[in-house]
């Protein structure tokens, strides 16, 4: 789960990582009030920052300086509702403007390749670190961090020195790094990035912008719900999540249901591959119903997939491993029954491919159930082709 900047900074503040004074607003009127309050406290100049989970906000015009409440109102009004790389701006962060003497970079992240953690530190901040890595790779220090020893002040200072942060900022930067590490571990983050970490002319070191990614697997021991964001979550994905289904919305026409993440990913590819011959038919979603594939889960899955109006055909691709295909076939039959009983009669074609344990028995059950919408194809490639063909015929 990626956090918005304002959420990242709330966490920074909780952990004692210094941030400029700021407050988030949903409307331009709120932005004006915040700006007025800041002006009364002696900070008339503010920055209005679009809150979207993507980079390049500045270039897109989503970050603007404003002098006083009225200009803040104007800026906020223009930025709210803006589309930045497909993300609609629903909130703006109003932050007191900070004088900047120098911009640095600091992060902690998971290092997949080396199966450990890593800190990246650079005296060159304020631009994307990938750019620095490209243009001036010597300016970046990558320091492995052991999960067993972590980061104390001395280690933090080594990181800061390796990043060649100048002496005048080093002490405060090291303190910031130590606190940032505490946040990284305590919050089960996989990335905490401060970019830029700035030095002000009066000698303070601040986190001016932040990026945080939290580990979804840690949700059972963390309060991730408080960062949930209804406005930027796809409504079908939100409903699927409430039903404990592993669903990702895509932009195609063939609804996909399968068991096992790898098999479902592969099913998407095989459908897209077959769809090339039918005018670019593509998969409409990722949905992994897991190994069990019970009737209830199958019914929930079908209901979710069919609620996407761009779906013209559904492809159910199941490999019977521990759960044999006869059980899966019974699940499909009762799922369609359950949907019909609840008024959700299915009228789109459903291509089913069953293979693996008891495939013959499963196929026989579906044949005998004689369901008008169900069509069986025995191979994955053949079924994908048929699903693409049916979707194309439905005018997708």
């Amino acid at each position: 789960m990626d956090l918005f900047e304002y959420q990242a900074k709330e966490l920074f503040a909780e952990y004692g990582v210094p941030v400029p004074k700021d407050k988030v607003a949903d409307t331009a009127a709120e932005a004006r009030e915040i700006s007025a309050a800041f002006a009364a406290e002696g900070s008339p100049q503010v920055v209005v920052k679009a809150q979207v989970k993507t980079g390049g906000r500045g270039k897109a015009g989503g970050v603007k300086l404003a002098d006083g409440p009225d200009e803040t109102y104007e800026r906020a009004e223009r930025i709210l509702g803006m589309d930045i790389k497909g993300h609609t701006v629903h909130k703006v962060l109003i932050a007191e403007a900070t004088d900047i003497q120098a911009e640095y970079y600091l992060s902690f992240l998971l290092d997949r390749a080396n199966r450990t953690f890593m800190s990246i530190c650079s005296v060159e901040g304020g631009v994307e670190i990938e750019e620095v890595a490209h243009s001036n790779p010597e300016a970046i220090a990558r320091i492995p961090v052991s999960p067993l020893t972590g980061v104390d002040y001395a280690t933090a200072m080594e990181i800061i020195k390796a990043g060649r942060i100048p002496d005048e900022a080093a002490e405060q930067a090291a303190m910031l790094a130590e606190r940032l590490w505490a946040m990284f571990t305590d919050e089960d983050a996989t990335l905490v990035e401060v970019n830029p970490m700035v030095l002000t002319p009066d000698g303070r070191v601040l986190a001016l912008d932040g990026k945080v990614t939290l580990d979804d697997n840690a949700a059972f021991r963390q309060d991730h719900e408080r960062f949930a964001d209804a406005s930027s979550t796809d409504p079908i994905e939100a409903r699927a999540k409430a039903k404990h289904l592993n669903y990702v919305k895509l932009d195609g026409q063939v609804g996909i249901i399968g068991n096992g993440a790898g098999l479902v990913m592969s099913t998407l590819d095989v459908v897209a591959y077959a769809g090339e011959q039918f005018g670019g038919i593509r998969p409409a979603n990722f949905l992994d119903i897991g190994g069990g594939a019970s009737a209830e889960v199958m019914a929930n899955g079908l209901e979710i997939v069919l609620s996407d109006p761009s779906v013209k055909c559904v492809f159910v691709n199941v490999f019977g491993g521990i759960t044999a295909c006869d059980a899966v076939a019974n699940g499909i039959v009762s799922a369609l029954g359950m949907l019909a009983d609840s008024g959700g009669q299915v009228d789109l074609p459903i291509v089913v491919r069953l293979d693996g344990n008891k495939a013959a028995e499963g196929r026989a059950i579906l044949r005998e159930a004689n369901l008008a919408v169900v069509e069986q194809v025995d191979t994955m490639d053949g079924a994908a082709r048929r699903a693409a063909e049916l979707a194309a015929a439905k005018g997708a």
Binding site: R112, T116, D269, D355, N357
Partner: protein, 295 residues
């Protein structure tokens, strides 16, 4: 021979009294695995009936090993307790620890991995979030269905469970020496490279199938390894060509960030290393048939 798991392996189960531990313990026994015991600190001294056999329950991994000679542990304990369970196995110095549990926080995995390295890599860790290891006709440790394939000459290493089963089933007439599910998490113990090295050295393995998916750069590094070190034919498959950037596709590790981790990049790296890569699982199986005929 087979890799990592053989007919001589003595398998124990951490979390043997839980529903998953019982269910799969019984299946492992039915597949001919030597399941010698398991742990549950609250039920130490009792026995548990699995598939008609009476299996002893111990309080700790070390006790189980001392009394039964267990040399493989399969971990089924829930995600919240997995880190402690794996660290216990590492401290008991068991040679092989297979972590089936999914949904483990990556900070926990990074920590138990660091402990395993710190302890001198005495314990090989497979997983987490993996289906385990099957050496058909010899032993089965984990949740891979035993009856979908046969013993044979193909070695398989895969990040995905069901894709592994699909491949084992499609090629059941040729059969497998060992299939290793290494798991779909961002941090895993045993890697593609570890398995490729072991299959290269295994006289019973004639050809290798490697199944990868989006996320990270493990496939790219495996490709570099193959180029230098693997003389046996390798056939590859990569899932996730249609996955959008920034979305996690089921497996915690299956996510494309920026331009890294894409299926296309992985496929190209493998092909550059002389690996034939199938476009679909069936096409991949067909390629395996081709190479095994000439192997």
């Amino acid at each position: 021979m087979a890799i990592f798991l053989t007919a001589e392996s003595r398998v124990m189960i951490q979390g043997i009294t839980g529903s998953e531990g019982r269910k799969h313990g019984a299946r492992m026994l039915a597949a001919g695995t030597e399941v010698v015991g398991g742990t549950n600190p609250r039920k130490a001294g009792q026995t548990i009936e699995l598939n008609g056999a009476s299996v002893p329950v111990f309080g700790t991994v070390a006790d189980t090993m001392a009394h039964t000679g267990a040399d493989v542990s399969v971990v089924f304990v829930p995600a919240s307790g997995t880190k402690a369970a794996v660290i216990e196995a590492i401290e008991a110095r068991i040679p092989l620890c297979i972590v089936i549990t999914e949904g483990i926080p990556v900070h926990d995995t990074a920590e138990f991995w660091a402990r395993a390295v710190d302890a001198g890599n005495v314990t090989r860790i497979v997983g987490p979030n993996c289906p385990g290891i099957a050496s058909p006709g010899k032993s089965n440790a984990g949740i891979i269905p035993a009856d979908i394939t046969t013993e044979g000459r193909i070695g398989l290493v895969s990040k995905s469970g069901t894709l592994t089963y699909q491949m084992m089933y499609e090629l059941r007439d040729i059969g497998f020496s060992t299939a290793v599910g290494i798991g779909g998490d961002p941090v895993i113990g045993t890697t593609h490279i570890d398995c490729l090295r072991a299959f290269q050295d295994d006289p019973e393995t004639a050809a290798i199938v490697m199944i990868g998916e989006i996320g990270g750069d493990a496939e790219e590094r495996a490709a570099a390894f193959i180029e230098q070190n693997v003389s046996k034919p390798v056939v590859g498959y990569v899932a996730g060509f249609t996955a959008p950037e920034g979305k996690t596709m089921g497996h915690a590790g299956a996510i494309i960030s920026g331009s890294s981790g894409t299926a296309q990049a992985k496929k190209e790296a493998l092909e550059k290393a002389g690996v034939r890569v199938g476009k679909t699982p069936s096409e991949t199986a067909a390629l395996v048939r081709e190479v095994i005929r000439s192997a």
